[in-house]
């Protein structure tokens, strides 16, 4: 808007940029038409903010043993501590405030999900677009590997990888990347096969641009919309998968507990009726996954008009 005011008479060069902006604005406007998607986005922003600000807003540092008092162990929600402040979501067996533990756990869960998706997306998209551009034997070899990997359930592949690597946040991320890259490779290849027959690729070839420039600057950007949709939904999948692995005891280490691990820790207490240790981290996990899915579903409808019903 301000740009328009600054240049009252748009030059020929400025016009495409303006068009792109209005397209983006149109997408944003379309996104906000769905109240559910707005709720999802608001929830997601709130959760991410809470996770980022955890050290500032958490009542205690749950991993500073000096702040924990074993006498406060397994207190129900709303109980007062010996030091006099209230545990709104109760405490675990070591007297750790669950609210603080959840805020810190959210950091790890969301972080692992986001980082693994970004890396997997970059790796998968590069492989997919190169395969589509190269075609022939390379293409069919890559796609065979993708097919092979996708024929095994992600949970099983990740489980085996982590059994090999051992525990650790970095190792979980590596395992999630290996499990996920094939989705992106397949998605990007699909749209790249269509795009590479378009005239602008032909034009770029006629200009004798280097291959890498054609692939990454011309072909790849035009394959992005479906990739964005897959990536958004995959963040939710990655978070769910990480929490499952941590619940099974092969994911993050005890020193950096994600939400899945907090849930696993509280499982023994669940059977004796102390529901809060497992339930509240679970609600945080579910809220994050549902919020991301709501946003992802709406993005799919907005970015792909053919799919809208």
């Amino acid at each position: 808007m301000s740009e328009q005011a600054a240049t009252p008479a748009p030059t020929a060069a400025a016009r495409p940029a303006e068009k792109a902006e209005s397209l983006l604005l149109r997408h944003v406007a379309a996104f906000f038409e769905s109240p559910l998607a707005v709720v999802g986005l608001a929830g997601l922003v709130l959760l991410v903010a809470a996770a980022l600000a955890a050290p500032l807003i958490a009542p205690q540092d749950p991993y500073d043993l000096a702040q924990l008092d074993i006498m406060d162990g397994t207190l129900p929600p709303g109980a007062e501590s010996l030091a006099g402040y209230t545990y709104w979501l109760g405490t675990d067996e070591q007297g750790r405030d669950m609210l603080s533990a959840i805020l810190y756990g959210l950091r790890i869960s969301l972080g692992v999900g986001a980082v693994s998706v970004v890396i997997a997306c970059a790796v998968g998209a590069s492989i997919g677009v190169l395969a589509a551009y190269a075609g022939g034997r390379i293409d069919s070899l890559v796609m065979r590997v993708v097919d092979l990997q996708l024929s095994f359930p992600a949970i099983l592949v990740a489980l085996v990888l982590l059994a090999v690597f051992g525990r650790g946040v970095d190792k979980v991320i590596i395992a999630l990347v290996i499990v996920q890259w094939a989705y992106y490779a397949r998605t990007v290849r699909g749209s790249a096969l269509v795009e590479r027959r378009r005239d602008y690729i032909e034009a770029a070839r006629c200009l004798a641009l280097p291959k890498s420039r054609i692939v990454f600057r011309h072909l790849l950007p035009n394959c992005l919309p479906p990739l964005i949709v897959v990536a958004t939904v995959q963040v939710a999948h990655a978070i769910a998968l990480e929490s499952t692995l941590s619940f099974l005891g092969v994911g993050v280490p005890v020193t950096e507990p994600s939400l899945g691990m907090l849930i696993a820790n509280g499982y023994d207490y669940l059977l004796s009726g102390k529901y809060w240790i497992s339930t509240f981290p679970g609600i945080a996990l579910v809220a994050a996954i549902v919020a991301i899915n709501l946003v992802g579903d709406r993005l799919r409808d907005v970015l792909n008009p053919r799919l809208s019903r």
Partner: protein
């Protein structure tokens, strides 16, 4: 067709060989099982004796050659922990997992199809919307969390079903099964429901999409015009036509159900092969991990092979394209 079958069999064998090698290299790179098996007081000599007994002192390629040779003879090694053949250990627990998976499959079909049918016939009704919302949750929420909530609701709060274990079993043709005793059935319900939820969501979506499509077809209008009752139109004309994709997908998903049983069995302490796998990973019991993975790989390769062959039999385009490539 024969060319296609031979090609496809060759591919399956290749996949098996590659996976076996990957599994072997991966699993044998994990940790040091001697450190876990030996008692903390064990001295150097005892440790060496254990290493020798397990065959871990030989070079890796020798271990690999032995592994391949033995695997071809149906011997996947002895469990370090139980000192039993790993394959026997798994086969003993396989019936429990199969029973769980099949029960879950039945639940997802007999609950999922009616719900999907309803949602497809009345997409704008409150019931239709609720079913779809439920199926989205079934899809996206982690399986173990759904299991925990089932335990919390039905075992801890209501006290209707036990929270874990397999209960009393009775032998059926020499195989212990739990669905023949009341106690076993009570133990089976929650884990089976947990395992079924994800597939149920899938069945609901497939059925709903199929129903909406079929309802617009001319033969449905014709059946109505003939004056057939609503029950007959839906029960025969609609249901028959939507079942094909549902059955195809469920056949494909049976394998992933057995893989997902790892999670369900851990939540419900259910003594199947999934629980065995998790326990074995914790104890670095390599032969059992390898045997489990090999069994799963074989199962998946067979399922994919059968599905491809059926497709090729139904649709000639598949085998023609393959023959060209």
């Amino acid at each position: 067709m024969l060319v296609y079958v031979i090609r496809r069999l060759g591919q399956a064998a290749l996949v098996l060989a590659v996976m076996a090698t990957l599994v072997f290299i991966a699993v044998y790179a994990v940790g040091d099982p001697v450190a876990i098996l030996a008692s903390p007081q064990a001295d150097q000599q005892e440790m060496e004796a254990i290493t020798r007994r397990l065959g871990l002192d030989r070079p890796l390629y020798e271990q690999y050659a032995l592994f391949v040779w033995n695997a071809l003879h149906g011997d996947l090694g002895r469990s370090f922990v139980y000192n039993e053949p790993a394959l026997t250990l798994i086969l003993n627990r396989l019936p429990a997992t199969l029973e769980l998976a099949l029960t879950a499959l039945l639940i997802s079909i007999f609950v999922g199809i009616p719900l999907g049918l309803y949602a497809g016939l009345k997409p704008q009704s409150l019931g239709g919307h609720s079913i779809m919302a439920g199926s989205i949750l079934g899809f996206s929420l982690p399986n173990f969390w759904q299991g925990l909530m089932l335990v919390l609701l039905f075992s801890v709060m209501l006290g209707w079903f036990p929270a874990g274990g397999r209960g009393t079993t009775r032998d059926l043709f020499g195989v212990p099964v739990s669905f023949l005793t009341l106690d076993g059935l009570a133990h089976l319900i929650l884990p089976a429901l947990n395992l079924a939820l994800y597939k149920m969501a899938l069945v609901i979506r497939l059925t709903r999409a199929g129903t909406r499509e079929v309802m617009l077809q001319d033969y449905i209008r014709f059946a109505r015009a003939k004056g057939l009752s609503q029950t007959r139109v839906i029960g025969v004309h609609v249901l028959k036509n939507i079942l094909i994709p549902v059955v195809t997908v469920l056949g494909l998903e049976l394998g992933s159900m057995i893989a997902f049983a790892v999670v369900t069995e851990t939540v419900f302490a259910y003594p199947g092969i999934g629980k065995l796998l998790i326990d074995s990973i914790g104890r670095l019991d390599r032969p059992v991990i390898v045997a489990y993975l090999m069994l799963t790989v074989v199962m998946f390769v067979i399922i994919n092979l059968v599905v491809d062959l059926i497709y090729a039999a139904i649709d000639p385009r598949v085998r023609l394209e393959e023959a060209k490539a």
